[in-house]
Amino acid sequence: MDKVRIALIGNPNVGKSTVFNALTGSNQQTGNWAGKTVERRSGLAHKEGLVIELVDLPGTYSFTAYSQEEVITRDYILRDKPDAVLAIVDAANIERNLYLVLQLLEMTSKVVIGLNMLDLARSTGVDIKAHELSRILRVPVVEIVAAKGQGLDKLLQAAVKVGHSDALKSLSIPYPPELEEKIQRMEEVLKNTGLAKRYPLRWLAIKRLEQDPEIGQEWEVRAVVPVQAHADACCSTGNAVSYDLKSTEDLPGDVLLSELAQAGWGQEEMEMAFADAKYQYINQILPVFKSQVHSGLNLTEKLDQWVLSPIWGYPILTGIVFLAFWVSFILSAPLGDLVSQGMSGLAELVVGVMQGLSIPEVWQSLVRDGMFAGVGAVLAFVPQIAIFFVLYYFLQDSGYLARAAFLGDRFMQMLGLHGKSFFSLISSYGCNVPGIMATRTLEDPKDRLVTILINPLIPCVPRLGVMSAVTAAFFPGGQGALVLVSLLTISILLVMFSALFLRRAVGQTERSAFVMELPLYHLPTWRNILQLAWVRTYSFLKRAWTFILAASVIVWVLSSFPQGVPMNESWAGTMGSWLEGIGRPLGFDWRIMVAIVFGFTAKETTLSTLGILYGVAANASQSIARAMTTAMTGLGAYTFLVVYMLYIPCLATVVTTYKESGSLRWTAFGVAYNLLLSFAVGWLVVQGGHLLGLH
């Protein structure tokens, strides 16, 4: 033999291409596999006067027929029969990788295993004994570090040696007796067919039992003539097999398959049983060749013992949320005042210039009392919101937010909500619109509807931002953090109450859970955190000079016309007087009611509307925070925050609710439910406050 053909296989990302590149250098050819969109790479290597053709097969996890890559790889090994197959295995993930190797060994015994990334595995305390693995699998195992080029010569040498040798006795995976019996029966049916001469019989029998669709296609094309020749031998087994193959249903073994299906061994049961048996076998042999240095619990495991504890987890979660809000209030308070003063000063400067240019008073008022008052009121809270985002991403990047979500779902289990509902609710803390869209993953329309309807009760980040800003104005420092924690608790309790109520209303009964992968704890990357916080803050700022500016102009027009009348007799004042009756039991004046209505377009508009209606920019010493604290008591502010958190989230959310539920009736129900609930809870807060002697 002057030329050896070696195929490279492996799971994706195990370093297979690194091995291929290192062995072939620049002698590579690329193209596509015939009739497929998958790239084909081959190359030449020279060793001791020998030409070695290396074929880099697509990375794949198994040799079933789930993807093009799997079919290509399998077909190449079975039909093109390379002289040897190099299986590259990631030592750090050997449990996953061996599944492919076991399937490979059922197809050919001419295999060499390249045990890659052993250095990485050893750094985590894992050691793999290559000689033991080789003994068990009956193929050579070579330790390599592909990234450093270590062990590659030895690997190629082993592959050439296997390529030159006759086929060895391959490993026969010991399946449970109930499967072995079925394999043998299928082998009996297939052993005299033409395909049995081209493919390993045991592998063929297993694939037939699994009803592999590619095998069916194969037989339709190739098996007619050779199988006909052996019809008698086949039929003597007692199976009435037709060899005039026109469709997959007519394949040999159908009778046996239907017999097995009647006994409860359908295609899915077979597929699962064979996969299960292979993993079971891997678990059996693992302790022989793999050892792990146990250095006790790692940091993540130690922390999770407390953080995920059913007893300590929730107090820790509350403490962390409290701390995050407290830090944001302490740090942002002086910055917010600076922005307020800056905006007032700038308003005066611009108006001064306008006066110098003799621009009419009405335009000066628009700039000062409309644009600067509205946009300035929102901008004054930007430091608060920016710091909030930084803390939010700090918790996320550290790995804690995933734990908080996990604890939250445990809480939700009491409601019997579908596991996927929880995902939608968590997304809603970012924004209710994608949160409602996330309900698309729920198959049951009742699950979906309940989740859509309770979704707006979760305060999104813009709502949380405005809430924390208003809270900071009324309740400084630790008191504010307590207020926000209590508000979030109210929101969660109402989600629970509403879920229980709505589940009954729509007749939903079942819940299914899920398994969550929790990331390791690690020190957050400040660059990442600041970048993400900046994106979110910038998005908030962008809205300030686009949407909020336009809304401010509209509110200014409504609050300034008809001209020459006091503000409470303006169009906005008239509208407010209609709504005042609804707000009176909660202690809201007409300004707050108008701001609540305008907040329906976008939550931040509430702040700009209050800024205009309280005449923030008309008085340089007046910040929105001061204006609000003058106009409202602490109890009034808390009531406002409750109503603000719970009433209709925003126009976009309502539109999305309609689009996703497809029902005007349920959308109207959702809007009415939120409104009624928010005002009812607000009223309870007022009454409770009065009972406690609060004002």
């Binding site: 449990e95 079971q280 990047d397 979500a405 619109v433």
Partner: protein, 96 residues
């Protein structure tokens, strides 16, 4: 029957972390992760991530505010699919 055992545990109403599932089933987290990936390839379970809805809202304004948009570490989780549910129901019927 490792894979079947994972499927059965996934059908329980309790949400588990991967480590808890490993502890309950008596395997290492690496073995569980490998098994779950296999079940996903076979179509019995699926992997989802919080904030996945970003993919369906076409990169619009609201996607900017999605809870995990742009982060390196979303919260991955494994759920039973319709195929997985049907398989377990069939299995339960057969066991009766």
């Amino acid at each position: 029957m490792m894979l079947t055992e994972f499927l059965t545990l996934l059908s329980n109403p309790d949400t588990l972390s991967l480590t808890e599932l490993a502890r309950q089933a008596g395997y290492t987290p690496d073995e569980v992760a490998a098994g779950l990936e296999q079940l996903a390839r076979m179509g019995y379970i699926e992997r989802q991530e919080i904030g996945q809805a970003c993919g369906v809202c076409s990169g619009g304004r609201h996607c900017d505010t999605c809870s995990v948009a742009g982060t390196a570490e979303p919260f991955p989780s494994w759920h039973l699919t319709e195929k997985g549910n049907q398989y377990l129901s069939k299995r339960k019927r057969a066991e009766r």
